[in-house]
Symmetry: C2
Subunit: 381 residues, 2 copies
């Protein structure tokens, strides 16, 4: 919570839940990344929060943008970034979207299989684009991460060499390797084994006459929720040590893609307690229903993965266990039940609550109008 957000909420007249993002915090986060990894370019992961004011600020500060779709590329360009500062980082792209990105000037693309390389080759031929670079994403085990990982993106490192060679043979620039150590990654040493794989791919490609240039270190930088997390400088140190260990004095060009780490702690949701009840007289836990839930912006409570800090006007009072749920008529719209959430006994219907660390992955996850409730409103200040 910042004084600026507190002041904004004091003066707010609107009804319904909202998230307020303090751009000053985003600015500090950007410089923290720039200082911690001075030789690494920052590609902000637009999907975390694509608010126009936020993108304009980051573009002005010098940030590049990691984009998941043509729409996000257009947002990055509209915010003032030139096309050479944009990466089309989604490994799953329609061929016509690749062509559109090439027309917009984008030259850096993620792939994780040969079929995706061939789409880029065809789109390149169609548009006549030159200097098209691809990097291959590799699988990473994601140990230590809090948001559920899957094998959705990337291929095994042994396959990556073939994918990059395929790109090279098809007239694309085999540019490098990317990986993602898992979202909300609490272990600063998680980059080590992925960098070992990356350097092995660099060596194997070199034996095939292909000189890779870049390692995309991905995101995974955490926001502080209920648990403490290491600061950005500790990530910077650990990553630099791992880079030196695996690449010696031939350090590759590097980029990072912070999303949550850039905007998570800059946002606060204000919500309202709609109902507090018990299911039977014997229940020990209260059910606390807010006017925001899993379908209104708090999708990352899925499987109770992210545990947001919640502040109330009763903080410091005695607390008891609560099941926390959203306002919809959907029985899956329950946020914390397996591990009940402790809230003050004096919490009342109509109270406002503040949900911290909600600057990333909230607004865009909102459903369009589930149960007739509007999507989460956002204010950037």
């Amino acid at each position: 919570m910042t004084d600026r957000i507190r002041e904004f909420l004091r003066n707010r007249r609107d009804d319904g839940p909202c998230v307020v993002v303090d751009l000053e915090v985003v600015r500090e986060n950007y410089f923290a990344f720039a200082r911690a990894l001075p030789d690494t370019r920052v590609f902000y992961a637009v999907k975390a929060n694509p608010a126009s004011e936020l993108l304009h600020l980051l573009a002005k500060l010098g940030s590049c943008f990691d984009c998941a779709s043509v729409a996000e590329i257009e947002m990055g360009l509209a915010a003032g970034a030139t096309a050479d500062r944009i990466s089309f980082g989604n490994t799953i792209k329609k061929e016509r979207d690749i062509a559109r990105a090439l027309e917009l000037g984008v030259r850096l693309f993620a792939v994780d299989c040969q079929a995706e390389v061939e789409k880029i080759e065809r789109a390149k031929l169609l548009t006549g684009a030159k200097g098209v670079k691809v990097f291959c994403r590799i699988l990473c085990d994601g140990a230590g991460a809090e948001w559920p990982l899957s094998r959705k993106f990337g291929c095994v490192p042994e396959m990556a060499t073939d994918v990059l060679e395929h790109a090279h043979r098809r007239g694309l620039e085999a540019y490098g390797v990317s990986f993602h150590v898992g979202s909300q990654q609490g272990n600063v040493n998680s980059w080590d084994s992925a960098l070992a794989s990356a350097s092995a791919i660099f060596r194997e490609c070199a034996t095939r006459g292909i000189n890779l240039s870049m390692v995309n270190l991905g995101g995974g930088f955490p926001t502080k929720y209920l648990k403490n997390v290491p600061g950005v400088p500790r990530y910077g140190d650990a990553i630099f040590r791992a880079l030196s260990k695996h690449f010696g004095n031939q350090l590759p060009e590097t980029i990072i893609e912070p999303g949550r780490g850039m905007v998570g702690n800059a946002g606060i949701i204000e919500a309202e307690v709609v109902l507090i009840s018990k299911k039977s007289d014997e229940d020990t836990a209260r059910w606390v229903y807010l006017d925001i839930g899993k379908f209104g912006g708090l999708a990352e409570t899925m499987d109770e993965s992210i545990r947001y800090p919640i502040r109330t006007r009763h903080d410091g009072a005695d607390m008891g266990p609560c099941v926390l749920a959203g306002p919809t008529c959907d029985s899956a719209d329950v946020m914390y039940e397996k591990v009940p959430y402790m809230l003050p006994f004096s919490l009342e219907i109509g109270d406002k609550v503040l949900i911290e660390g909600t600057g990333a992955y909230t607004t865009t996850y909102s459903a369009v109008a589930f149960n007739g409730f509007p999507p989460l409103k956002q204010y950037t200040i």
Copy 2:
């Protein structure tokens, strides 16, 4: 799939995934419910699909509406239903929303605790509304249902009597009992035990001088996905038998709230295969990425709950296991992985696929713009 949908898709020019809803199927479904339970009023659960054309059709056919919010109430009224045909069926309501509903003429409200009764009492005093009816929702075990259930709605039956008595003492009409046997309920006999509880509440209230009138039998009527489900007439028979068994010849007024059962089978999503790949040369399962996923309308694949039938132009060809995923850069956007989905080996990138049974709980679950992808488009024909 209907001929009308097939014809519509053949002529469609638009890009990106869409759902097409055939209103003729909805019309048949409405009459199937009306025939199967001739003495029961149908309250369509608007949250399942609030398309204006759909609501207009149902209003014209005589349907009433179960609404989760003021916005849904306004949609029901705009579609031509009078306020006496609307139920505010959400047990979690802001007091100002209750007041707004009363001002709009709505008189039927769901509750599951005393605090909610008191909100309705205060809103009634504020607005001067007369004849305000409340029904109390009770917990149900939901055995046999496919969509994850929780204890989110309802109280234990023993508490319901106190809640209804509280309403009676506060000047509201203690009108009845509601329950929900669980969404996509495949067991036609699931209503039996809930009706036993309801009749016990009727008797207990009678001993306290309160005569309840109505049993809200809820929804839960299934749509056919991959597994066969019983037809509506079998549900009608089983419910009528259970009603007679527990209420004898003093049958209460009854209502049902079909949502999925009314529109699920009326809709088909057309989507596109964006990528097919493997993670390593040894993988047996292919990864098939569509341009729609968990955040673009298929949220009910959460925990792999709902397994949609998927048709391709290669149906009948040899099939192999696939992991099915959406187009976003979100590792949680994977639909079927624990139990792989069988699809033809000849499926290709760029192929269209048809996802059946997607008329309910798709459009409204769509995220506003996650990863820059627009929400699911809908056409009603």
